[in-house]
């Protein structure tokens, strides 16, 4: 291995280790009864984020200046199995490093904003523990070279996102909404896990190199039906995480969290995680017409639904999130059509613009005294279209009718059966709506 490649590797590892150490320090620091001071948390977070940004800047600069070849390398062999090994593979190429660097800068910006925004907030330390998990998750996802690393990053994003939506947990509605979002994230995670298993069975390892890099798929592999299945499950995973159709309905629910987390999750990075996954899997998607059609269909539908919904929102954060989603749909279409560079630039640009818009949203409200609800005050021009837009094209209602209610009815039947089999008298009434996730 050449010296520049070694430098890139070392700094990538440092960029990943830094948020991991931050998580460990904040968690361990929270164990004693006396909580960490805000200043200590801010210093630790700043130190970790600056280390990540600097490391990625050096890695990216070294990569670009010295012309290191894109490569996947095993950072650590996790454990061996009879059918291969689960290992921590990292993919070092310009795109991945670029995305990781932009993500780190965005995280740094939001962390500085968060210190002030959450000053004297009761869950200050909790927020930064979750935030550190998010930074780690994004970096793992950006630099993943194996399905295990990708899955770990994916799960960290989902969990931290849900827990931050429920940040103001004294009220019931953030918690209920966080539960709903988490349920959809679990569908997304399950799809990712299925894709990972299929990758293991097809290639004998979890390495994503063949799928994520151009020109690596041989003709023999291209003809296997599993490739289309992997594409489908990647799309399902991306749809859950990025709010593509039919999962669009969770986005306004996610706005219950603190504004900085909304900015970084639903304006900048988390909502684009699905796009990044599809962008990475671009070479795979283009091997199957079925997958291409599905991705284009999801993109078009998402753009239409989000553009429609954005026009009827009565609060700034929800309107911004739908505006973001409109662009996410367009990016997905670009990916499916093969405009990878355009899609990548679009993704980065949209993330940065939305971040600024989200962070300035509270100020806009203050300045204009009444922006919220302004759209509603105008009244609907076309009532039916307005109602459709207000219900996000009825996608949530459809999901409830087709999936949630039949599932709950079936499970309730099982509960009755269990009560009968155990010979006990039910101590509580039947499961009501309030217990639904």
């Amino acid at each position: 291995m050449t010296a520049p490649a070694r430098v890139v590797q070392i700094f990538i590892l440092l960029a990943l280790a830094s948020p991991a150490v931050l998580v460990a320090m904040l968690v361990v620091g929270s164990i004693p009864r006396r909580p960490l001071s805000e200043r200590a948390v801010a210093r630790m977070t700043s130190g970790a984020v600056i280390t990540t940004i600097a490391s990625l800047a050096i890695a990216l600069a070294t990569y670009l200046v010295t012309g290191v070849e894109p490569q996947t390398w095993t950072a650590r062999k996790w454990f061996a199995t009879t059918s291969g090994a689960l290992q921590i593979d990292l993919l070092a190429d310009g795109w991945g490093l670029g995305f990781a660097f932009v993500a780190a800068v965005i995280c740094g910006t939001v962390s500085v904003f968060s210190y002030r925004y959450l000053h004297r907030e009761r869950g200050f330390v909790r927020y930064f523990i979750l935030y550190a998990c998010f930074v780690l998750g994004v970096q793992l996802m950006a630099l993943a070279g194996s399905s295990e690393v990708l899955f770990a990053g994916w799960e960290l994003l989902g969990l931290s996102s849900s827990l931050l939506i429920a940040f103001f947990h004294e009220r019931r509605s953030p918690v209920t909404n966080a539960m709903r979002v988490f349920a959809i994230y679990r569908v997304s995670d399950a799809a990712m896990l299925v894709a990972a298993v299929l990758i293991h069975h097809l290639f004998g390892s979890g390495s994503l190199t063949v799928l994520f890099r151009e020109g690596m798929l041989t003709t023999e592999i291209r003809s296997t039906p599993q490739l289309a299945a992997i594409s489908f499950f990647f799309l399902l995973a991306a749809a859950g995480k990025s709010g593509l159709v039919p999962f669009t309905g969770w986005l306004p629910r996610a706005m219950e969290g603190p504004t900085p987390s909304s900015a970084v999750y639903y304006g900048a990075l988390s909502v684009h995680a699905g796009c990044y996954l599809l962008w990475r899997a671009g070479p795979l998607i283009r091997t199957s017409l079925f997958a291409e059609i599905l991705v284009i269909g999801a993109g078009v539908m998402t753009t239409l639904v989000a553009a429609l919904a954005a026009r009827v929102q009565t609060n700034v954060k929800a309107a911004l999130s739908y505006a973001t989603l409109t662009q996410v749909g367009v990016i997905v279409i670009e990916i499916a059509l093969g405009f990878r560079t355009l899609a990548f630039v679009h993704l980065i640009g949209n993330a940065c613009v939305r971040l600024v818009q989200f962070l300035t949203a509270p100020n806009v409200l203050l300045d204009l005294h009444g922006l919220e609800g302004a759209g509603a005050a105008r009244g609907p021009q076309r009532p039916r279209l307005y109602a459709l837009a207000l219900q996000e094209a009825g996608l949530d209602v459809l999901l409830d009718a087709l999936v949630v209610r039949p599932f709950l009815a079936l499970v309730r039947l099982g509960t009755r059966l269990d009560v009968f089999l155990s010979g006990e008298r039910p101590r509580v009434g039947p499961v009501g709506r309030e217990t639904m996730p």
Binding site: F79, A80, E148, E170, V175, L408, V411, S422, T435
Partner: protein, 463 residues
């Protein structure tokens, strides 16, 4: 031989001493301190074989004592970590259970239960296993003397039937029958039926939620978490059972995994939800063992340890919360996070390990199990994914209900001993999840040995 005898003496003598001590009129607080010290020493003693090759593998096999195949007492790759699991769970129970709910009787039950579990994990003889099985059931019934009769009726009936079936199977098992004969199949079916009831495999699962709901939670958790039924299946059934029987059990277990996880999502009682989570994971372990491939057996053995530790922690979280807040209804938000952030964090990590979250031991087990299960059952194998997804939803719903909401007025933080217990158990799950290689390779060797045994036995049956 002498180090082995000393080690065995310590392993059985320490909990036995605690049982005897609990029957004396010793002060309850002092008894608790002594019991914690004994459990700590026992945990250290059970860890010795991991580092001392003399104790790494031994067989004590006097043929005349108890009839039957296999060693009377032994330690091999499969059982190497199991005594440490039983002792560690006992120590954790003593440390983390509030004094209010763990009196002298409770302490005696924990020691008895640990003694039976240790005896089970160190023997291969079917009759000894059946005796230990019956003993642990009797001890549990003893712990439930003061609780409602309805629960005793349901759980007692199921456990009684499971004991009878297992004992009948064990008696038939030791008869000199030709391999592959109808009698052997009958004995294996009886053993499996007993184990399935004890582990709560559908449709014999309904007694577990009833026991958790109406019985005493602490003893129920300690009785269930080591999964003695899994051990019995691994030692007696997997090496000899025909492929068709194992296949049927594996499919039933996979279905149970999803069914129970789905039930956990909608329960209103935290106890019932916890019981269903146990059934789900326990069923996945059973499915892995009965799929009988290298990868699934390894996955099942890892998941067994992960789910035992996670479940003990989750159950104990409920015990701690119930001792302070009474009955836990999941339709309400209890707002305990502000006063008990450490317990909230521990609950989350333990629950996430249950759902196979990366960075915990549960992920390692589930990943191995999933890979193998999909290989064995190309479609049904994905039920593991469904179970994991539903478990995650159930755990987060429980977390939100138990810990979020308006902060409660009563200042009831965790006691230092409870806090230490939860920190330790969480650290064990995370450390073994981040550095799983030593544990996985040990379980791989144990799995390979089981498969070898099976191939040898089945090979001779064909001949």
């Amino acid at each position: 031989v002498i180090p082995i005898l000393i080690w065995l003496g310590a392993v059985f003598g320490l909990p036995l001493g605690c049982v005897i001590l609990a029957k004396t009129r010793i002060n309850a607080e002092r008894l608790r301190i002594v019991a914690i010290a004994i459990a700590a020493v026992l945990t250290v003693v059970t860890l010795i074989p991991l580092f001392w090759p003399t104790l790494h593998a031994f067989h004590i096999d006097p043929p005349s004592v108890v009839p039957g195949r296999g060693a009377l007492l032994r330690l091999d790759e499969l059982s190497l970590v199991l005594p440490a699991l039983a002792a560690g769970l006992w120590l954790f129970t003593l440390i983390a259970t509030p004094t209010l709910v763990l009196g002298a009787d409770g302490l005696r039950f924990t020691a008895q239960s640990t003694l039976f579990t240790l005896a089970a994990f160190l023997t291969e003889r079917p009759l000894i296993l059946a005796l230990v099985w019956a003993g642990s059931v009797a001890a549990l019934r003893g712990a439930f003397v003061t609780t409602r009769s309805r629960m005793q009726h349901a759980a007692g009936m199921y456990l009684g039937v499971s004991t009878v079936l297992f004992a009948a199977g064990a008696i038939l098992y030791i008869l000199p029958t030709p391999r592959g004969s109808a009698l052997e199949l009958t004995s294996l079916t009886l053993l499996v039926a007993g184990a399935m009831i004890r582990k709560g495999i559908f449709p014999a699962h309904a007694w577990i939620p009833a026991m958790f709901e109406h019985g005493r939670l602490g003893p129920s958790v300690l009785f269930s978490s080591p999964q003695v039924g899994t051990y019995a299946v691994a030692v007696l059934v997997v090496p000899r059972a025909p492929a068709e029987l194992l296949r049927v059990i594996a499919i039933l277990s996979l279905f149970t995994g999803v069914y129970a996880a789905a039930q956990a999502v909608v329960q209103r009682s935290a106890r019932r939800a916890c019981a269903y989570l146990f059934i789900s994971q326990s069923a996945l372990v059973m499915a892995g063992l009965d799929t009988a491939s290298h990868e699934t057996v390894t996955g099942a053995l890892v998941l067994w340890l992960a789910s035992s530790v996670s479940f003990a922690g989750l159950g104990r979280c409920l015990v701690v919360l119930e001792a302070r807040h009474g009955e836990l209804d999941l339709a309400r938000h209890h707002g305990t996070q502000e006063k008990k952030p450490l317990l909230a964090a521990a609950f989350l990590v333990l629950g996430l390990s249950y759902s196979g979250f990366p960075g915990t031991l549960g992920f390692v087990g589930e990943e191995l199990l999933l890979g193998g299960a999909v290989g064995a059952f190309p479609w049904l194998g994905f039920l593991v994914v469904a179970s994991s997804a539903l478990t995650g939803i159930a755990v987060l719903r429980m977390y939100f209900s138990l810990f979020t909401g308006r902060p409660i007025a009563t200042p009831t933080s965790l006691k230092p001993s409870e806090a230490i217990g939860f920190v330790l158990i969480t650290a064990v799950l995370v450390t073994t999840g981040l550095v799983p290689a030593p544990l996985v390779s040990s379980r791989q060797r144990a799995g390979a040995h089981l498969i070898e045994q099976r191939e040898a036995t089945r090979g001779s049956a064909v001949e």
